[in-house]
Symmetry: C2
Subunit: 198 residues, 2 copies
């Protein structure tokens, strides 16, 4: 049963699969051992597939206490492809997160893929605009890459709303390493109209 | 040994882990079965970790025929978190790719994460600018989100160089579903100076 004081078994499984992803990329064991590993994994996948929700995690209609964003590509604790980021909200409405990215996030050798930077900044810039029951969606996002971002270094991303015009939130943010920002971004995040007619 | 006419065992392993990622997010089997699955995966990870390359795949210095981008976050055939995209180059220099995204790429319920769109467009827009031995790096990237992009639908992304100014390539591209573009993008991709002094 789920322990309310710790990670659920589902979250623990995702942690295990994240380690497996890294080992799958970096392993140098023999092709025979790799083939045997694939067979074992297929067996586990079959066991887990004995009961699968249709579609994706966010499309579930049950409420069993699991967070709705558990499958999210950036923050999903059940998504092994997600780092997953933990977004912290400051009293002034700004947000921040700290993380390290490994082999699964590579673009140029030894460096974070520019698209992974964009993936993270889209999520982090959107975070300060979310209101309970009223999410905001990306309208435009502009990224400026100042210098490369290394893998396996402590990184920090932050964002804040600069101004609001009706349903539009103008947000700025960045990803930084120990030497300062590597990529800066600005975006417009838009709340849907609250009218049910829209 | 690697069969030159088909996928390597390493690529087959990545395919298996991709299926496992999807099942990890979507499984509804009991917590006990999930816990047992995590233990089996940890065992496989330990076997694969008996010999691990240091760092990331792109940092390898050996040349054993494996493509240097095998670990890439977007196109890496050994990276289970990558879709992985296959980029096709047209005679006129433009590029295209077709793909479908499942539960691991979710943002809003049932929809592709806006950041995943950015991840893919960064890579696809960069593709037409790459020259052998002379990669280009993202300078700026601007994305315009016109409407949501659904999971599990056939998608197409394409990009072409609009103009070149010295080391700068001005590139435009899009992601489309059957009804047309959902997100359009423009970016500046920059070749490093060829001088060894730079």
């Amino acid at each position: 049963m789920t322990d309310p004081t710790g990670p659920s078994n589902y979250e623990t499984l995702a942690v295990s699969v994240r380690r497996l992803i890294d080992a799958t990329i970096r392993t140098e064991v023999s092709p025979e051992v790799v083939a045997a590993a694939a067979a074992k994994i297929d067996s586990v996948t079959n066991e887990l597939s004995a009961a699968l929700m249709p579609g994706s995690f966010g499309e579930r209609t049950v409420d069993d206490g699991q967070p709705v964003a558990a499958g999210n590509a950036v923050i999903g604790i059940r998504n092994p492809s997600a780092p997953p980021l933990v977004i912290h909200h400051n009293d002034d409405g700004s947000v921040w997160t700290e993380f390290t990215l490994g082999a699964a996030y590579e673009g140029p050798p030894g460096h974070v893929h520019g698209g992974v930077i964009a993936l993270i900044l889209d999520h982090v810039l959107g975070a300060p605009t979310h209101k309970a029951g009223r999410p905001a969606y990306t309208g435009t996002l502009t990224l400026r890459y100042h210098r490369p971002t290394r893998l396996r270094r402590p990184l920090r991303s932050e964002a804040r709303i600069e101004s609001v015009d009706g349903r539009k939130n103008f947000v700025v943010g960045s990803i930084s390493d120990a030497d300062g920002p590597t990529v800066t971004a600005e975006g417009v995040f838009i709340h849907r109209r609250e009218s049910p007619a829209s």
